[in-house]
């Protein structure tokens, strides 16, 4: 494990590995999205209660999954950056943040577009929706910290601390629907007694979930490469000035 981490900690090797994965990630994303969208829009039945609005779930739930798992990934790499000072760790978290923010925004917007016809309102301040909005602000705050420091290593440290403090919000989002009464429905897929979604609706959901995951990986590789080269650019410019 330690050996593996050190392999990834070398930026040049990290770039070589991610560049090798990139074309495959892109191809898999396109294929999964094509299959997922076909299943979501054409080959899946309407829900017995929600009618066609169930199709909103196929873009809403995967976005919410990504919003939370990207945050967890950022928290893990930020902790790694703080403790072991791995050079790629902070940059990985920085590269992932805008993607996570986009998915969080999409989860909020598509959720509201489902809420209006089904609940009768675009927004309520229940525990699930509020904690999800806080997650969005955590992403924005994280990106703002990176932007507001000139010294990038200080920025990385401050941003990492924010992510770790905000990590407390992730279990709150996940379990808000069980701990408190909310308007948002309880978990349907990751429950103790198995999924409560019929397979004809669950399959497109899972395919879209995989598609979003590999889409994240594809965009992440592009962004992390930009971050690593960007740091190299700063170092070279500094050396240039000093010469």
């Amino acid at each position: 494990m330690a050996v593996d981490l050190h392999k990834f900690a070398n930026p040049a090797r990290f770039l070589r590995i991610t560049s090798a994965i990139f074309p495959w990630a892109a191809i898999v994303t396109v294929l999964l999205l094509a299959v997922g969208l076909y299943l979501a829009l054409f080959a899946s039945p309407e829900d017995y209660q929600q009618g066609a609005t169930v199709r909103i779930m196929f873009v809403h739930v995967p976005a919410a999954w990504m919003a939370m798992s990207i945050y967890v990934m950022m928290a893990i790499s930020s902790a790694t950056g703080l403790i072991w000072k791995h050079p790629v760790a902070d940059l990985s978290a920085k590269a992932a943040a805008p993607i996570g923010a986009c998915f969080t925004f999409l989860a909020l917007v598509t959720g509201s577009l489902w809420g209006q016809p089904m609940w009768g309102t675009f927004w309520v301040w229940d525990a699930r929706l509020t904690s999800m909005l806080i997650l969005f602000f955590l992403y924005l705050g994280y990106m703002a910290i990176w932007g507001s420091f000139d010294d990038q290593s200080k920025a990385g440290k401050a941003a990492a601390i924010l992510v770790l403090i905000g990590a407390i919000n992730v279990p709150i989002i996940k379990f808000s629907v069980d701990w408190w009464n909310t308007l948002h429905q309880p978990a349907s897929v990751a429950t103790m007694d198995g999924p409560k979604i019929h397979s004809s609706i669950l399959t497109p959901l899972l395919v879209m979930g995989l598609a979003y995951t590999s889409l994240f990986l594809t965009i992440f590789i592009i962004r992390v490469k930009a971050e690593i080269l960007g740091r190299r650019l700063r170092i070279l410019r500094l050396a240039h000035v000093e010469d």
Binding site: P45, Q50, M118, G120, W180, N181, L183, Q185, K196, S200
Partner: protein, 146 residues
């Protein structure tokens, strides 16, 4: 190595303290974090007449009476139930046996006069045919929730 160890312990203990603090805060705000009260909660901790709050539960089967724009029904949690009156449009998902969250206040006669009605969806998703066959097979348990 020792410095890394030390940083590891600092991060871990920071997270632990934070988790404890967060759970204490959340526990003390329990009442305001709850989005609605159930009819049983009302029996346990009565709310004074005229105070605004949200009441949630299932729309009792066979209790919906529509009279022009006024609609009345009973909200139940299968133990206790409360009559609700509301003037206005109800959301598409509003039906008997389904979850509902209403906002309003109790009147002297114990009726809840709602100013808004939101439908609450449950965690079950299935095509209509499956719902039909479950009903036909007698395995239909839409009210089988906590």
């Amino acid at each position: 190595m020792t410095r890394k160890r030390r940083r590891l312990y600092i991060v871990l203990s920071g997270m632990a303290v934070l988790a404890v603090a967060a759970s204490l805060v959340l526990m003390s705000f329990e009442d305001s974090l709850v989005f609605f009260r159930s009819p049983s909660d009302l029996v346990e901790k009565p709310v004074p007449v005229g105070r605004n709050f949200r009441l949630g539960g299932l729309v009792e089967e066979g209790s919906v009476v529509k009279d022009g724009v006024e609609i009345s029904f009973r909200v139940t949690d299968l133990v206790e139930s409360v009559s609700v009156r509301y003037r206005g449009l109800v959301p598409d998902l509003f039906r008997e046996g389904q979850g509902v969250v209403t906002e309003g206040q109790l009147t002297e006669d114990g009726t809840f006069v709602a100013s808004s009605v939101l439908a609450k969806h449950d965690e079950n998703y299935m095509p209509p045919e499956v719902a039909e066959s479950l009903k036909a097979a007698g395995q239909w348990q839409p009210e089988d929730k906590k």
